[in-house]
């Protein structure tokens, strides 16, 4: 089983959108490696003929009637926003300047 290197931990942090400090990465990389090695033994019993279970209940898609129903006002929806403007969520720039 591959163990988690510090470089892999840094890659995982990027994928996870976590801007971790070098100290945090050093500490976490070691812990992640220990945890992954401890849980890897699930593959010992996961034979090809065992179907996977994603959920303990049989799930079926649930639709609601396409009818009007009460919902949040714009003020309520925006009340927890870090920043808002003209009844919209104000966000930092998304595109890089070209």
């Amino acid at each position: 089983m591959p163990s988690i290197t510090r470089a892999e931990a840094a890659h995982l942090a990027r994928l996870s959108r976590l801007a971790l400090s070098d100290d945090e990465l050093d500490h976490l990389a070691g812990q992640l490696d220990v945890i992954i090695n401890a849980v890897a033994r699930v593959s010992e019993v996961a034979d090809a003929d065992v179907p996977p279970t994603s959920h303990s209940l049989p799930l079926t898609n649930v639709f609601r009637p396409d009818a009007l129903r009460p919902c949040l006002t714009p003020e309520e929806a925006l009340a927890g926003a870090p920043a808002s403007e003209e009844q919209r969520f104000r966000v930092p720039r998304i595109l890089d300047e070209e």
Binding site: L12, S16, E24, I36, A38, S56, A79, G80, P82
Partner: protein, 497 residues
Amino acid sequence: MTDLIRLSAAQLAAAIASGEASAVEVAQAHLDRIAAVDGKVHAFLHVDTDGALAAARAVDEKRARGEALGPLAGVPLALKDVLTQKNVPTTCGSRILEGWRPPYDSTVVQKLRAADVVILGKTNMDEFAMGSSTENSAYGATRNPWDLERIPGGSSGGSSAAVSSYQAPLAIGTDTGGSIRQPAAVTGIVGVKPTYGAVSRYGLVAFSSSLDQAGPLTRNIVDAALLHAAIAGHDPLDSTSIDAPVPDVVSAARAADVKGLRVGVVRELNGEGYDAGVRQRFSEAVALLTSLGAEVGEVSCPHFDYAMPAYYLIAPSEASSNLARFDAMRYGLRVGDDGTHSAEEVMALTRAAGFGPEVKRRIMIGTYALSSGYYDAYYGSAQKVRTLISRDFATAFEKFDVLVSPATPTTAFRIGERTDDPLKMYLADLDTIPSNLAGNAAMSLPIGLSPDDGLPVGLQIMAPALADDRLYRVGAAVEAALHDRWGHVLIEEAPAL
């Protein structure tokens, strides 16, 4: 009425209904208790004094108008801070949600309101319900009322500590891998994880959606049944809510009879790694069940040995996806929005600042387990183990009506003892995880103090999905027999705060 805080929920409701005490007096007695002892225990993150007194006044007015009151009307409750309550701070024990006031009620809260339950406030928890000790809260640890240097369990440790220190007769917790049953066990109270899908998850901030389930923490079985009945039921707002009648848990709790019931002792959930004192009290509880007329036998569930590793792949995988919603855009913390950082950088800075170490660990483990190249070996294999564990339960429930085990391998450990050893911390949920993976119902109830350290030991009872009533039937029989033996319930032996 002398000491309102010592009464059970059922007794309080009766006193309020008869006019012996007003709901406002009952609420005030509990608010006074919180003011007196929560500085030591730290069970609550937020006490909603005005909201609680207003709800209590409404109950008294309802009674004055001659309207019928429900079985929990006017009874105070402590709510785990992972469930939304409109306009009341909801943090999930995380800095990333500090100051957030949700614009809506969770279904659990709506049902509590409909039952005229008085919500006292929000209880401390491991951040996003990830932990077994409540030490992972961003707002400081909660302490075990039996020994303030020890953990109250987790992640619902604020709820277990509130109930065991008489700050509330009822609490709501949530259980993803044992987060109701383990805190109940180590604080000497009753905790129930209902069948998955029995209680709506609408407004329950998701950790691991296929495992999360809300349920009661109380000081006795009948109170747990009353609360279970109040919060369970089909909800169209939760696509995984079961559309089936709620088992009659209240009648089962009052029946308290195990004659002829087949009880299976799970071989894999005992032995090495278990405290001698836990094993001793568990053996005595099994002997007690036999003496009460149950047919007790041993049963093997061989794949339970793989439940912990499977859980620590499945839950982090789901968490890494669920917690992607904390993106600093629509609510919660935002860090680094100074015009020099892109939206993506603001997200990463915010999440690094707003999440604690355990949440970061789990997001990264989940991201790893779901990444291409590793998916089959980790997440895929864990899902197969989930199938094998469900099959073990199905086979066991062909021969037995309920299964039993210790609720935890050890009694409450010391604060700080396991914080930097995640794997050791994860062992606290060894007994409870299988029922989350299979979705069946399970309970922990107090069966005595360990002779090793004088701390509470819990018995876990497991029943098939939608047979939650069996937990209450068995639990109430054990509780009644122990009550007869001791002359009181276990929690009365807890030291005064």
